[in-house]
Amino acid sequence: MEIANLPISASQRSKLLSAGYATLSSLSSLSPSHLARDLNIELQEALEILKVVSDAADRSKSTDGHHQALKGVQTAWDMLSEEQMQQHITTGCEDLDHILRGGIHCGEVTEVGGVPGIGKTQLGIQLAVNVQIPVEYGGHGGQAVYIDTEGSFMVERAHQIAEGCINGILDNFTDHDRKILACQEWMQPNSFLSNIFYFRICSYTEQIAVTNYLEKFLKEHKDVKIVVIDSVTFHFRQDFDDLACRTRILSGMSLKLMKLAKTNNLAVVLLNQVTTKYTEGSFHLTLALGDSWSHSCTNRIILYWNANERYAYIDKSPSLPSASAPYSVTSKGIRNSTSHCKRVRMM
């Protein structure tokens, strides 16, 4: 295997190549201090490079002679039973949950997009609250990570939604036994707020940094069940000169998010904005960031207006059929829409 195929940074690779090290075997019996002197880098860096090299060499050597099963491989039959046990996070609106077959899927990346004012941030906050419903009441009892790029997260609104959610649950469960009512002490809006980890992002480099940091963060906080990014497009739409660079950064970010969703079995919800597109002689609205971004998510939900009612439409999903459902935004959060309901003012 060549040096070029190793996962090291470009500057380290160019230093190695200019010093004459082109193959793995040339680095195999080299001491770190010798390498550091040759390449004019720190000893720590040389140690890291040699570790990557020895890992790669181990992998190619250990497969000689004896059979090694591929790691991480599962048969479709095993995955079938796993898929049926997959967890969902309820959105608060029964119609929406119905078309999603239970709610937002854990282990997948869902993109939600819509025109301004349709309720994307409201849906994000609602999901961050709903994931904390205790297990005894049919929820997950997990924590949430909310990454805010636009500054549209309002703590008072989150408090209101948490209150609405708790009251709704207690109303449904008033005639249950004492064991369940025992956890009523920590069913307070403040404790719900304390389980939401909030990151405020002010530039696209910070967004990339947070995505990289999330892996470590999630290892320390194993209870996190949902990551909401609101919105993923904001810093990439203005002032980005190099569109090819933008595509590269976005596709790299989406791969990392998919890996996080799969390995930690949590739901990742990305909120997106809309833009106009000119095709076949007419303008119509599509989600921002272009065609290449549309491949980066597993599920896609589009929110739109239809005669004074808010609707959600499933645009892309590996296992759900296309459908749409109405919902409404009330003072308690996202709920089922009542048919005569007009555009509701919040607060």
């Binding site: 295997m1 070029a4 195929n5 190793l6 996962p7 470009a10 690779r13 992998r59 190619s60 497969t63 000689d64 004896h66 059979h67 090694q68 099963a69 591929l70 991480g72 491989v73 599962q74 048969t75 479709a76 039959w77 995955m79 079938l80 796993e82 898929e83 282990g107 997948e108 990346v109 090819a244 660079c245 595509t247 590269r248 950064i249 596709s251 790299g252 989406s254 791969l255 990392k256 998919m258 890996k259 969703a261 799969k262 095709t279 065609d291 290449s292 549309s294 491949h295 980066s296 597993t298 896609r300 499933i314 645009d315 892309k316 999903s317 590996p318 296992s319 759900l320 059929p321 296309s322």
Partner: protein, 341 residues
């Protein structure tokens, strides 16, 4: 290309030269050991035009009084061991024989595509399917084609699915498998489903380096199973390779293109050596004049053997496939096919 082999041992020298039908001259010389109890440690050196391979071969001990026949026998044995390290050229007849015997055609189950491809996916080839993503439909079309092929081919051998976008849906495969089965009792259906689903293996991959690692591991696993006669993989699907390559392609360094081409080389080598068909999916990007074209650029165009573009007709279940490139058939032909829900 002239290849010379030289076998050296200890003791007295005796040499043998041979010219086989390919005109390759091989010489083997074994020296007799001075001590009767030691075995001949022969050092074999093979020199080609480009590089040298040196291998240690140990032979039976040859006593100083042994006849030259025994020495020649041992030399012949050394030469046969050397043959296994040296890969001879294949003649056209041998290639045709290999193609007829080992490289079968795997039908995808979608009639239009099978007609375009001349029967289906051919083992030993790298086939690319490009298509636009969600344009008013729920499932990406390329993924549907992949799942369809997987469920059809899983009957004949194992299918390995490398999934980069979490789009592998066991439920959907189960639906497709149940569509093909004729009238069977419930238990028989269940058993058939289990048998087919157990021969589809899925692994999530999120990194180009992970992909290269997995392919190298797969290569050594397959080499091992060829000897032991274990299960046979006949189809390898990567959905989608463009999402792995897009983050590294472009920019000032050619590293991304290098990794893309290396991945292509490893895939084609796997396909040819182990007789499997490799199916990769790609997405579309906007080109000049608003016409969409497959992603990954000009360098990728030469890598797959067969390239197809699929698209959907106006919100219906009917899809169109166009051949962009094929090694054995004319390009530009189209066909329609239907995927049922």
């Amino acid at each position: 290309m002239l290849t010379r082999f030289r076998v050296e041992g200890e003791g007295e020298r005796s040499s043998m030269a041979e010219n086989d039908d390919l005109g390759i001259e091989r010489t083997a010389s074994i020296q007799n050991p001075t001590k009767p109890s030691s075995s001949i440690g022969a050092r074999v050196r093979a020199t080609h035009d480009d590089d040298e391979d040196e291998v240690r071969v140990s032979l039976r001990p040859v006593l100083p009084h042994s006849s030259s026949d025994l020495i020649h026998q041992e030399a012949a044995r050394a030469l046969s061991v050397m043959d296994s390290f040296h890969q001879p050229w294949l003649t056209g007849v041998e290639l045709l024989d290999d193609a007829n015997r080992n490289k079968h055609v795997l039908p995808t189950g979608l009639e239009g595509i099978d007609v375009l491809l001349g029967g289906g996916l051919r083992e030993g080839q790298l086939i690319e399917i490009a298509g636009p993503s969600s344009s008013g439909k729920t499932q990406p079309l390329q993924m549907q084609v992949c799942l369809h092929s997987a469920s059809c081919i899983a009957d004949k051998g194992s299918v390995m699915f490398l999934d980069t976008c979490n789009s592998f849906s066991p439920n959907r495969i189960a639906c497709m498998v149940n569509q093909f089965s004729g009238p069977l009792f419930k238990e028989a259906k269940e058993r058939r489903l289990e048998r087919i689903m157990s021969s589809i293996l899925c692994q999530p991959i999120y990194d180009i380096f992970e992909l290269l690692d997995t392919l190298h591991q797969l290569e050594s696993t397959l080499k091992h199973t060829v000897k032991t006669g274990g299960y046979k993989i006949c189809l390898l699907i990567i959905d989608s390779i463009s999402s792995l390559i897009a983050p590294i392609l472009g920019g000032k360094s050619p590293q991304g293109r290098l990794l893309m081409v290396s991945a292509g080389i490893v895939l084609k080598k796997l396909a040819h050596e182990f007789n499997l068909a490799v199916l990769v999916t790609n997405h579309m990007v906007g080109g000049e004049g608003g016409i969409i074209k497959p992603a990954l650029g000009e360098s990728w165009k030469n890598i797959p053997h067969v390239r197809l573009v699929v698209s959907r007709d106006q919100q219906s279940n009917v899809f169109t496939a166009t051949v962009l490139k094929h090694t054995m058939r004319a390009s530009g032909r189209t066909a329609k096919f239907v995927i049922h829900n």
